[in-house]
């Protein structure tokens, strides 16, 4: 099984690629890749979960197509003409804008599918471990919350029964009160018991220390640089300086994050293991990113637009091949040698 970080990187790659093209052929290719990887790497017993991306596409594509056709009145092949006095909607509805909208829908579906796969392929516990060390408390909160959710569901059922037993019927919103309040109260009591148990096991010996003022100030500075850089980039002509300001600000924030992590020593019982398969997948994603982001000759084909007149979208086989790098997870899912 692949590491959670690998899957996240994969999903982010899908996101970046999908966002950078409006060429329907590439969009379809991407969607096919995502579907293939989903089917092989995370087969689900639950049929409905597998069809979710398709259901999403079934609504997203026509809706986006329609919306675009109704609002953007560009293009030459006019299908219908709405009266001009209609605000925003008035004007020609063209085939080109319909198609463009459909492509948008496909792109959205690809992104959605990529992240759905990420959700299904990583067990929730591994997701919690993704949290950086500085966020250890957050990690514990997440663990507690995730562990308590099934218990809440059971509690809810128990309380509904208990209220039914004294004649309570749920008819309107107000009738949820006798169910919500005991749920809340028992949850609160539970949380105090949990806190006690945690403290008795040594939790909090380290995390009760507050962050030094210096880190806090650096954090503020980082945010300032980020904001300032962004504003400068938007409104001023100093693009390069603004960009470096933003990057420096981002770096500062991440550095504080790292520092905070170091201040809270923790060890992990299950260290994350990085295998060759993870490296392979990362390389595959890197390849796909490279063909899309680097100024290679085929890149121009990404930015296809059907305007002003519908034409066959170009397809560069090299770019297509690069995109196939996203199939890397498929090659490694055959063997299940390492256990979770």
């Amino acid at each position: 099984m692949l590491d959670a970080r690998t899957w996240l990187f994969w999903a982010m790659t899908v996101l970046v690629i999908a966002s950078s093209t409006r060429n329907p052929l590439y969009a379809i290719l991407l969607l096919l890749i995502v579907t293939l990887v989903s089917a092989i790497c995370a087969p689900d017993q639950n049929r409905r979960a597998m069809l979710l991306p398709f259901r999403f596409a079934a609504t997203a594509v026509p809706l986006a197509a329609l919306f675009n056709a109704l609002t953007a009145h560009l293009g030459d092949t006019v299908l219908l003409r709405l009266p001009d006095w209609l605000p925003l909607l008035g004007g020609p509805l063209t085939l080109e804008s319909l198609l463009f909208g459909a492509t948008n829908g496909l792109v959205l579906t690809a992104i959605f599918g990529g992240f759905t796969l990420f959700n299904r392929a990583t067990p929730v516990r591994d997701l919690v471990q993704l949290a950086p060390r500085a966020f250890h408390e957050a990690g514990v909160v997440l663990s507690i919350a995730l562990t308590f959710v099934p218990q809440t569901t059971r509690s809810l059922a128990r309380i509904r029964e208990a209220q039914a037993v004294r004649g309570h019927r749920v008819r309107g919103l107000r009738d949820w009160l006798p169910i919500v309040v005991p749920l809340l109260v028992s949850g609160l009591e539970h949380s105090m018991g949990l806190a006690e148990a945690m403290v008795a096991r040594g939790y909090g010996a380290v995390s009760d220390r507050a962050q030094p003022l210096r880190s806090q100030a650096l954090l503020a500075l980082g945010l300032l640089m980020l904001l300032g850089g962004w504003l400068a980039w938007l409104f001023m002509p100093w693009k390069r300086a603004a960009l470096s300001g933003m990057i420096a600000g981002a770096g500062l924030i991440l550095a504080v994050l790292r520092l905070a992590g170091r201040a809270a020593p923790r060890t992990a019982y299950r260290p994350r293991r990085w295998s060759g398969r993870d490296t392979l997948t990362v390389l595959g994603c890197g390849l796909a990113l490279a063909v899309v982001l680097l100024p290679l000759p085929g890149r121009a084909t990404l930015a296809y637009a059907p305007y002003p007149r519908l034409s066959l979208p170009p397809f560069d086989p090299l770019v297509g091949l690069g995109l196939l790098g996203l199939l890397a997870p498929v090659t490694v899912s055959g063997s299940r040698a390492d256990h979770k």
Binding site: R125, L146, R158, V165, H168, S186, A200, G202, Y269
Partner: protein
Amino acid sequence: MIHFNHLTYTYPGASRPALADVTLRIAEGEFALVAGPSGVGKSTLLRCLNGLVPHFTGGVLGGRVAVAGRDPVAEGPQALSHVVGFVFQDPESQFVVDRVEDEIAFALENAAVPPAEMRARVEEALDLLELTSLRVRPLESLSGGEKQRVVIAAALVLRPRILALDEPTSQLDPQSAQDVLSALVRLNRTLGLTIVLSEQRLERILPHADRLIHLPGPGGPALSGPPRQVLHQMDLIPPLVTLGKTLGWEPLPLTVEEGRCFAAKSQFPIPNPQPQIANPPSPILQVEGLSFNYNGTPALRGVSLTLGKGELVALMGRNGSGKTTLLRCIVGLLRPRQGEVVLAGESLVGQETADICRNVGYLPQEPGALLFADTVADELAITLRNHGMTNSPPIAPADLLTRLGLSDLAASYPRDLSVGQRQRVALGAVTVTRPRLLLLDEPTRGLDYPAKRELTRLLREWQADGTGVLLTTHDVELAAQAADRVVILDQGAVVADGSPAQVLTASPPFAPQVACLFPDTGWLTARDALAGLGRLPA
């Protein structure tokens, strides 16, 4: 090793101190049992061991506590976690993660122990508590006893020298409780771990204790010493010990085995054969051939039973034998696959729970799930309102509160009350409609002796009114004292149905202590035995 010196503690906002001038000593390697009625300060005392009191709870603490040379009050619970491991009552509310291994490793992760050592310690803890086969299981799939063992393991990874447990078995069924207690005894004997345990059901653990500490409550000093010595000065004791004390058996027997030689020597006239039950009372509830499946597996198989007016029937059986399922089918929370339930001539199958509950009062295992109002009086009013009976209540709420002993608590917030009081509020909430039938699911779980007695008294009052009572329980002594009939379920089918004397003595797992001591006499309680021996105190 553990010293309490004139320890006095008051909770924040409390009018009386929870602990007053307690002076105790517990030596290293001892197995100490803390006993006393509910609310007397057992939990507070235990929490002083690792500093939870006063660091976690606030309040004012006087006197001194020394634990293995350390001062919990000065150092706090986090520092003491390496010296004192703590196990709480409810296993559910102690879990941070959802896997056994990860839960056990949680404390080590927080202490930043290096991974290799972490692994070694987790293995050790799993081994000590015999959890190795369960290591990758999700926690919610474990039984209560297994969960508590995981909690103990999680406390042991920090290698404490003392283990403090606050009523660890009160939420467990007898089998699980036995597992946990055996594990504790093993830890004490093999590792020399000092164990301080508070417990309501003393009979299970008395034989293994080195020291018994009794906190009698306000006004009385704490008693501490070898069990037999302290038992002489206590009132709330197991039936066997009551017998022993009254009959002057020395040394005081703590187990049935010890008691047998005394019992054999006792002289008593051969008791008369059991008279037949004179007239079975007119039936109020009839269950015929009830069957129910949970996800395909049968939970109830053709169960039939009758309950008469004013009769109290105890439903017993192992965990998972279908007791709770039967109750839930009767009250309409579950729809049976087959069978009939008739209450006073009216069929209940297919009716909605809210309608059925006009005539059937059902007290679930966790009465807390019922309570949500601001005052006790409101709880009763809400049920009346639900049934539309506000203007013509079958029983005046004030009278019901008096009967329940809650009249001076009518304006209190229900969740602030003790466990026993809360249960009575819940009982009030379901009996305000004057039901003909009362169903109680494990009502004595977690109750101390006085609260149990109070409950039994209440049930007798309702029985006198003509209400039929059907309760499920694991508590054999309760069945012996209160039940008119006992029904035993096994794997969804009725295997025994008769008077307590017949049923309880027939199967060893369900035999009360007295019945084990005096087989073939039909005596079930200490009172029966004393009466039979002609030694009933005036």
